[in-house]
Every structure is written in structure tokens, then in C-alpha cells.
């Protein structure tokens, strides 16, 4: 991916921060939930490499990070970033979208729709280059389950998405699953006792 092609993702992120700042402030006292979540963990992506000439799907492993900003107790905006790597291939996703959260005791379920960019790379050594890369639109959806461990730390037991990428002149439908840890900042309303 060229640096130029990353810019739309950055612009989306900036827009998100602006809108979030405008809309979240009046709601802070009315709800009882973390204001921000930051997530980091391991992810697995099953890349549909058959669409670009591989004999089968390719298993890619890597990281998944993201952030969530609550607008109300149940609605907010999620940013999702991931990088997955395998033999001669890597895949990155830069996504943003609305998220709905449902809480009960120490458990939290969420679903979200994500939109953004996918950057897929294939390392094929050629006389004039070391590989091929393609950046294209991506959208998908999924959800997950978190379980509170400490007042500010939650275990993300699982997160699963299904991405639809447009790269290399074709389309790929790729499932991704992640696990990891979530850290909370701030609160909407009163802090909940654990």
C-alpha cells in the first residue's frame, strides 16, 4: 500500500474523533458504562487466497487492536485495526463503524458494522520488485463477548468478524477471530462496583 492510499482511513478516524467529541459530552452523566475502551490481542484471519490463484484459503495470524467510544450506554463507535501474516502474505484492515453493546453483570456482548480499507500484500520476488500489494475498500460485520476481570480490565473472550475486501481486482470474503484484553478509560455515569 502506498502512503497516499492510507489517508482515507486517517481522515475517517479524524472525523470520528470530531463527531464523538460533539455528541458524547451531554450523555456522560446519564449512563453507567466505560467511556472509552482500548483493545489489543491476537487474531486469526482466514484469507480467501483462492481468489488470487492460491490453491486454497490461507491462514494468517497476527494482532488486532482497536478502540471504542461510547456515545450512549449501548451505542458507540468502534475503530478496528489488524495485521495478519502468513507464508508469503500479509493482510491489514483499517476499519471504523457503529457498535451496539449489551451489558449484563460482568458480561458484555457487542455487535458492530465496520467500514474501511484493506491492504493485502503478497511476497513474490520478481526481478524488478519484491512483491505485490493492493489496497481496496472493505466492509464487514461481527461481534464479540467481553468478561470483566478488574475494574478497568476486561477479557475479550472472543471477537469475530466477516470481512468483504476488494483487492487485487477481485473480492475476498475473509472471517477473522480475535481474543485479547480491553482497558477502560472514564465512565458514562456512576462507576459500577465489581
Amino acid at each position: 500500500m502506498t502512503r497516499k492510499s492510507v489517508r482515507p482511513a486517517r481522515l475517517l478516524f479524524g472525523l470520528f474523533l470530531f463527531l464523538f467529541g460533539l455528541t458524547s459530552a451531554p450523555l456522560l452523566r446519564a449512563q453507567e458504562a466505560p467511556r472509552f475502551d482500548v483493545f489489543g490481542g491476537f487474531s486469526y484471519l482466514r484469507f480467501n487466497a483462492k481468489t488470487i490463484g492460491y490453491p486454497d484459503y490461507t491462514n494468517l495470524y497476527g494482532w488486532n487492536g482497536g478502540a471504542f467510544g461510547a456515545i450512549t450506554r449501548r451505542f458507540g463507535v468502534a475503530i478496528d485495526l489488524s495485521g495478519n501474516y502468513g507464508s508469503e502474505m500479509s493482510s491489514y484492515h483499517f476499519m471504523i463503524g457503529p457498535q451496539y453493546t449489551w451489558r449484563r453483570d460482568r458480561s458484555k456482548f457487542f455487535v458492530h458494522a465496520l467500514f474501511g480499507k484493506a491492504q493485502n500484500n503478497v511476497s513474490i520476488v520478481q526481478p524488478t520488485r519484491s512483491g505485490f500489494e493492493s489496497v481496496g475498500r472493505s466492509f464487514g460485520g461481527g461481534g464479540g463477548f467481553d468478561y470483566d476481570w478488574k475494574p478497568k480490565i476486561t477479557i475479550r473472550v472472543f471477537q469475530a468478524e466477516f470481512f468483504h475486501d476488494n483487492t487485487f481486482g477481485t473480492t475476498q470474503n475473509d472471517p477473522r477471530v480475535s481474543i485479547g484484553v480491553v482497558y477502560h478509560f472514564g465512565h458514562l455515569g456512576h462507576r459500577r462496583k465489581l
Binding site: 486469526y44 481468489t51 490463484g53 491462514n59 503478497v122 473472550v157 472472543f158 477471530v177
Partner: protein, 362 residues
């Protein structure tokens, strides 16, 4: 709650992670006007082609014929204007090509290439310099070394060649003379003319194929719209079989025998169709199958069989397509009624310019 969730999620993730890649073939088509070679993954079930990422890959000037070694590690492409052969390493996972320099010099206009079944000798027909070059192949690196005593001179216009499955005999078609030149091949690659060579074929002899049993040579005579059938004696001598030559469509330019040896297919470039025949295993004589000829785009000029004998790929030059055809299966070792007919159930692949050659990996 947490334990229950983990108990559900971990098996799910492990289930997703499983899955293995079935063995599939790759196909390559050279594009002379683009100095490139397109690569495709073949779907084992349907024969459909999927473009491999990064394709087309750069070649030399005006790439034409192409062959792949039996191990599927290396590909060789003759560059007809450069008068060289490019060696490509085939990526074992993706099937992409990466050229290994330097290129190997050939005679003028290397128009046809063939490799023996052992994968240790490469034969090249040089059309303008009217010669046959033989190269030994380094099994480790794929590098070519010209065999001493070659190139061997021929009368002008050798256009096609084929080697028997045993590797003992090489047959070269001369278009101008309508003759087939026969050579015995030493283990070193040295060529020795077979007694009585050359053998008559037909005017405008343009392409040839040998059956997997090494018993018959089929030669397409493009100017007179026939195919000659010549039986191969144990000493390499060729003899026309009874009933040979037989009529084909207009402009037969490519011949392919199925991997079972039971069926013969001929691309008729001017009548835009494929003639289909069953082969008598004893006499070698070909009998047209019901439904033949089969329409095949505009100007079909290249026929290539896949190693499993399931599909035939037809390159049509004017419509610039590669169309996979499924060979109706046959049981036993003899041609059966209704079997051998071609049918196409998947979409053709469009190529950006006319093809110079095609090869399918084993």
C-alpha cells in the same frame, strides 16, 4: 460464565484453523506482444482458471513456446526475438514465476520446445536457423547446458517437435517439405538420424503429438486439412497406418492426445472448431466421435491437456480466450461409445493478447 465461553470459543477457533490445500495444477500462457506470461490456478473439479496474483510476469522479447519440468519446479520459455530461453522458478505455494538469470542462447527464432519425460533434456526447434538445439538440464538448479554435437541442422522451417515417452526418439515436423524428421536420442542428448528419415506426412505439416504409449505419431497437415497417423517402430522408423491421412476441419494447427491415449483432438483454426476422435489402440486409427466437431471460439490454435486427463484447454487467438473443456470420462482401456466428447461448463478466461504458447504443470 468465562469458562463456558472459553469452552465454546476455543474449539470453534480450532475448527476454523483446520483445512489443507488440495493438490492443484497451474497453467501458463505466454503473451508475445506483451513480453509476459500469464499464470492461472486450475480448479481440479471444474477446470476453471483463476489468475494468479502478480500475473502476467515479465519474460524476454516475444515469448513463445513454454515447457514445465516434470517436478513442477522450473518453467522454460523461448523468447523468439531474443533467441534465448528464460528459466523461471515456479513458486511451490502460489505458482508464480520468477526468472532466474542469465538467459540461455538458442538458434534463430526458437519456435518450439519439448522436454523428455525424465526432465533432463530440452529440445528446441530454431525455425530461422533451421536447426535443433538440445540442452541438458541441471536437476538442482534447472540451468541449461548445450549438448555437444548440437544444434543439428535441418532443411528450412522446422516448426514443431515431439519426443516419445521413452525419450528414445525425437520427431521434428518440417512445414515447407511436409516431412517428419526422426532422430534417436542418446542418454547424453546427442541426436542421430533414424534410418529412412525423413518420413512423408502432408503439405503444410504444422503440429504433431505422440500417444502416451509411444506407438503412434499424429501430424496435422494444415494446408491440406488432414491428419497423418504414423506408427512408431522399435527402431524409431515411421510408417503410415492404413487409412492415413484422414480429413479434419479447415486449418488443423494443433494436435493433442488424451493422457489415456484413447482420444485425439485437433484444433481447426480456420473452421473455428475442435475435431474429436477415438483412437484404436491397436491400429492407431482415429474415428470421429458423435457431436464432433465442436465450436471453439474464433481461431482455436492451441490445445493442451491437463496432467490428470480431465480437461483440455483451448486457446483461441482471435477471440483471445482460454476455454476449459471437460473430457467425458471413459471406463477401461479402450475408447467407448459416447466417451471422449468435450463439453464446457465453466467460463472462458480472456487473455489480453494472442498467445504464443501454453503449458500446464503436473
Amino acid at each position: 460464565m468465562l469458562r463456558k465461553a472459553i469452552a465454546v470459543v476455543i474449539p470453534l477457533m480450532l475448527g476454523v484453523l483446520t483445512g489443507c490445500a488440495p493438490g492443484t495444477h497451474t497453467a501458463y500462457v505466454t503473451l508475445p506482444t506483451e513480453n509476459g506470461v500469464s499464470a492461472y490456478r486450475i480448479n481440479n473439479r471444474s477446470g476453471a482458471l483463476t489468475t494468479i496474483v502478480g500475473s502476467p510476469y515479465l519474460t524476454g522479447n516475444s515469448p513463445g513456446p513454454m515447457v514445465i519440468d516434470p517436478a513442477g519446479k522450473y518453467a522454460y520459455i523461448a523468447n523468439r526475438i531474443d533467441n534465448t530461453i528464460s528459466l523461471f522458478r515456479i513458486d511451490s505455494l502460489i505458482g508464480s514465476l520468477s526468472e532466474v538469470m542469465p538467459r540461455t542462447a538458442t538458434g534463430l527464432d526458437p519456435v518450439a520446445m519439448v522436454m523428455n519425460a525424465a526432465g533432463n533434456l530440452l529440445f528446441v526447434a530454431n525455425e530461422v536457423s533451421s536447426s535443433i538445439s538440445v540442452y541438458s538440464i541441471n536437476s538442482g538448479t534447472g540451468a541449461l547446458t548445450l549438448v555437444a554435437g548440437t544444434p543439428v541442422s535441418l532443411p528450412p522451417n522446422p516448426v514443431a517437435l515431439a519426443v516419445t515417452p521413452s525419450g528414445n526418439f525425437l520427431y521434428v515436423v518440417n512445414s515447407n517439405l511436409g516431412l517428419v524428421f526422426a532422430y534417436s536420442v542418446a542418454s547424453s542428448g546427442a541426436l542421430q538420424p533414424v534410418a529412412g528419415s525423413p518420413f512423408a506426412s502432408g503439405t503444410g505439416a504444422f503440429a504433431l503429438a505422440i500417444d502416451p504409449g509411444g506407438k503412434f505419431v499424429y501430424v496435422a497437415n494444415s494446408s491440406v486439412n488432414t491428419v497423418s497417423i504414423l506408427s512408431i517402430a522399435s527402431n524409431g522408423v515411421l510408417t503410415q497406418v492404413s487409412g492415413s491421412p484422414f480429413a479434419t476441419g479447415t486449418g488443423p494447427v494443433s494436435v493433442a492426445v488424451s493422457t489415456t491415449g484413447l482420444y485425439l483432438y485437433i484444433a481447426n483454426e480456420s473452421s473455428n472448431n475442435i475435431s474429436e476422435y477415438s483412437i484404436d489402440a491397436t491400429t492407431g486409427f482415429a474415428t470421429e466421435i458423435t457431436g464432433s466437431p465442436l465450436s471453439a471460439g474464433t481461431a482455436p490454435s492451441l490445445l493442451v491437456t491437463d496432467p490428470d486427463g480431465t480437461f483440455i484447454y483451448v486457446v483461441s487467438q482471435t477471440s483471445k480466450t482460454i476455454t476449459p473443456y471437460t473430457i467425458t470420462s471413459s471406463t477401461g482401456t479402450t475408447a467407448t461409445s459416447g466417451a471422449g466428447a468435450l463439453s464446457s461448463t465453466v467460463q472462458s478466461v480472456t487473455i489480453s493478447s494472442p498467445a504464443g504458447g501454453m503449458a500446464v504443470s503436473k
